[in-house]
C-alpha cells in the first residue's frame, strides 16, 4: 500500500476522495501528499519545524510555516472538510482552543493522540513508580515535546463536556485496531469528531 503508519492509514481511509484537508502539524507532509496524490484531496498543512517545511515544499505541498497555537483566524468557517490534528494536539499550548478552531474551520476534525492509560504505561507508573515511556510516548520527562497527557477516556469526557460529537473512534496498537478494552490496550487513538 502507500507505506503509511497505521494511524495515518486510518486517517487516509476516513477521508473521502476530493476532500479539502488541513493538516495541523503536518510534519514532512507525507500524509497530505498521499491524500492529494491517491485521493485527489485538496490539501494544506501547517508545520513549525524548518526542515519539515522544506520537505513539504519539495513535495509541492502548500504549507504555512508557523505554530498552530496562534490560531487559524485567516481561515473562514467551514473552509475544509477535514482538519487533522494527529499527534500534534498534545503538543500545543492551548489544546482546547486549537480543537475548537479546528472544528470551526473544518466540517470535521480528526484528532489523534497517544493513550496515557495504555497497559505498559500504567504498569510503569504503578509498579515501577516511573513516568510512562512507551512506543507512543517515547520520551523522558525532561525532553518530551508533549504538554498534555490524556487517555482515551479523558478525550471522550472532553467531547461530552464540550458537546463535540464523536462520529467514530479508532484505537490502535502498533499494527492494528484494538477493540477489547481499548483504554487499556491501545497505544494511540484517532477520533473523528464534529460540532
Amino acid at each position: 500500500m502507500n507505506g503509511l503508519r497505521i494511524d495515518n492509514k486510518v486517517i487516509f481511509d476516513i477521508i473521502e476522495r476530493g476532500s479539502r484537508v488541513l493538516d495541523l502539524g503536518c510534519g514532512d507532509g507525507e500524509l497530505i501528499y498521499v491524500l492529494a496524490k491517491e485521493k485527489g484531496a485538496k490539501v494544506q498543512g501547517i508545520e513549525i519545524d524548518d526542515n519539515e517545511i522544506y520537505k513539504c515544499v519539495e513535495k509541492g505541498l502548500s504549507v504555512f510555516h508557523g505554530d498552530i497555537d496562534s490560531g487559524l483566524a485567516e481561515y473562514p468557517d467551514r473552509s475544509f472538510d477535514y482538519v487533522i490534528l494527529n499527534q500534534s494536539m498534545q503538543q500545543v499550548k492551548k489544546a482546547d482552543f486549537v480543537i475548537q478552531e479546528a472544528l470551526r474551520v473544518g466540517q470535521k476534525a480528526i484528532i489523534g493522540f497517544p493513550n496515557f492509560a495504555y497497559l505498559r504505561a500504567r504498569f510503569r507508573l504503578f509498579f515501577k513508580g516511573r513516568v510512562p515511556i512507551t512506543s507512543s510516548l517515547p520520551y523522558y520527562w525532561y525532553n518530551t515535546p508533549n504538554l498534555h497527557f490524556l487517555t482515551i477516556s479523558d478525550f471522550k469526557d472532553y467531547c461530552a463536556q464540550k458537546t463535540i460529537k464523536v462520529v467514530s473512534s479508532y484505537c490502535l496498537n502498533e499494527k492494528r485496531q484494538v477493540r477489547f478494552y481499548p483504554n487499556l490496550f491501545a497505544l494511540n487513538a484517532v477520533f473523528l469528531v464534529t460540532k
Binding site: 484537508v21 485538496k42 515544499v57 502548500s62 504549507v63 510555516h65 483566524a73
Partner: protein
Amino acid sequence: MMKKTGAGIVKTEYFTFAEPPNEMKLSSGKRLGPVTLAYEKYGKLNKNKTNAILVLHALSGDAHAAGYYEEDKDPGWWDVMIGPGKALDTDKYFVLSSNVIGGCKGSTGPSSVDPKTGKPYALGFPIITIEDMVNAQTYLLDHLGIKKLLCVIGGSMGGMQALQWVASYPERIQCAIPVATAAKHSPQQIAFDEVGRQAVMADPAWNNGNYYDTKEKPEKGLAVARMVGHITYMSDKSMEEKFSRRMKEKDYSFSFTADFEVEGYLRYRGDNFVKRFDANSYLYLTKALDYFDLSGHRLIPKGKNIGVRFLVIAFKSDWLYPSYQSQDIVRQLKASGVDATYCEINSTYGHDAFLLEAEEETRLIKHFLSKTFHGYDVARAYEI
C-alpha cells in the same frame, strides 16, 4: 582574466515607450513620457513564451541582477540565484530583470532630461508609486511579447512590485514569490524613510533638488541616509558578528574620527553609495515605498478568484520587514482563497538575508518554480 561563469557576460538593454502624446498615466493623475526602462535578459524565452520570470529589485538595486559586465569583476546583485542550475535556472527559464522608473540606473527618473525643458527633471519629476513602476513594466512585457509570466519574484521593494503585479494584473501571472517584504509600509518603515529623506534635504548642496549642474552634490546627506538604511538591513547579531566592538586602531583616538570598525563600515558604505546613486531618486523611491499599501482587499479584491500561487518568504532576524508582515500577506491570501506557502528562513543576517541566504532560498524557490512550471502532481487546497 577571471572566468565569468553563471549567467555569463550580460549587457543592459533599454526600451523607450509612452512617447507624447501617449504618455503613461500615473497614480497621481499626472502623465509621464517618454519613459525608458533599463532591463536585462538571461536564458531563452521558449516558443510558447511560457517560461518567463520577472525579477524585481530593491530600493538601491538595478536591472543588473545576474552575470557580469565585460569590464566588471563582480556579478549582478542576485547572481547567486540566477544562472544555469540555480534557483532561477536559466537553462529552463527566461529571466527578465527590470529596473524601476524613478530610479537612476538607466530608467527615467528625476535625473533624466525632461524633453520639455532640456534639463533634468529634478523635483519636476512626478511622484511615482509602486503601481506606476509595475505599469511601466507592462510596456516592456508587451514589447517582448510576453502575455503571461511564469513568475514574478523580488525582495523588499521588489517584493512589493511582485505583490502589485498580482493586484494589478493577476491574469498575467502564474506564481508570485514576494521575499522579505510587506503588503503595506508600517509607521516604523515610513519613519526610517523620512529620516533618510530629511538627511538628503538638510544637505545645503541638495538645493531643492537642483544640483545636477552644480559642482557640489548632496553627498553628505545621501550618505547619512544610506548609513541609516544599512543599519536597518542588518541585525543586532549580524553586526555583533561582523564588527563587535573591534577598533580600527589599537586605542581610542579621543576624537570624532571613526574609532570602531562599524563606524568605518557605515562611512565607507555611505561614501560608496553616493557615487552610484542619485539623491533625488532616493527621495522618490522611498516615497513610493511609503505610499505602498495593498492591505485589506487591495491585494485581492473581495470575491475575486485568482489563480496565482504564492510562495512568501521571510527571515527570522529581519526587523525592517519583520516576518509578521509576510504572515499578514499570507493571511490576506488565505482569507481570499488564494493558494499560498509561507516559510520563515532561520537567518541572522537581518533584512540583507534575502541577498545572502541563497542556499535556503534556492531549496524553496527551485522546487516551487519547477512544480509551477511542470505542473503539480498533487491538487492544491484552493484549486480553481
